[in-house]
Amino acid sequence: GAGVSQSPRYKVAKRGQDVALRCDPISGHVSLFWYQQALGQGPEFLTYFQNEAQLDKSGLPSDRFFAERPEGSVSTLKIQRTQQEDSAVYLCASSLFGRTSGTSYEQYFGPGTRLTVT
């Protein structure tokens, strides 16, 4: 079946522009995560959705970052007034379920969107 897809794959924005990054999770997956991966670093958690509910946004670096998943499927990560430090690969991951009961559900990653702010 289709995996997690993300669009666009590459985005170049001028400093100060707003951008919107899209994530299509695997159909039926309840949980959706956004991560930010700066050059030479591992992915870092941004925010987590269970269905349409945003249960954790502790990793969002500033109030310029906003994420939504209104119908519990597709998610959009929006960055307002982009800054050079926002340049990174933004990864989306989905997993089947959202609650732990001693059971781990694998997170499936998308290909990422590489954002370059000039």
Partner: protein
């Protein structure tokens, strides 16, 4: 603080040699540990997890709670193992799914 440390940015070995990618973690609880791999021009994918105690593509990893380590090992490296490897920790919060905390990654290069 929860943290994953991969001390080596780059590890270069010859084909057929043993390989060990180091991972240490810091977490005051009972975490789940994972190894993810990213081959050239491919997406991040799960390689193995400690709770499964499985061997994937000849790789194994044992969770050592005393040393807080989860090193990835393979007795005989192959050229196709060349990739970026990330160790990750998933916090087991009660009643909620924890996000993954990644190390900075180790690039494994297997020379012919």
């Amino acid at each position: 603080a929860q943290r994953v440390t991969q001390p080596e940015k780059l590890l270069s070995v010859f084909k057929g040699a043993p390989v060990e990618l180091k991972c240490n973690y810091s977490y005051s609880g009972s975490p789940e540990l994972f190894w993810y791999v990213q081959y050239s021009r491919q997406r991040l994918q799960l390689l193995l997890r400690h709770i499964s105690r499985e061997s994937i593509k000849g790789f194994t990893a044992d969770l050592n709670k005393g040393e807080t380590s989860f090193h990835l090992k393979k007795p005989f490296a192959q050229e196709e193992d060349s990739a970026m490897y990330y160790c990750a920790l998933r916090a087991n919060y009660g009643g909620s799914q924890g996000n993954l905390i990644f190390g900075k990654g180790t690039k494994l290069s297997v020379k012919p």
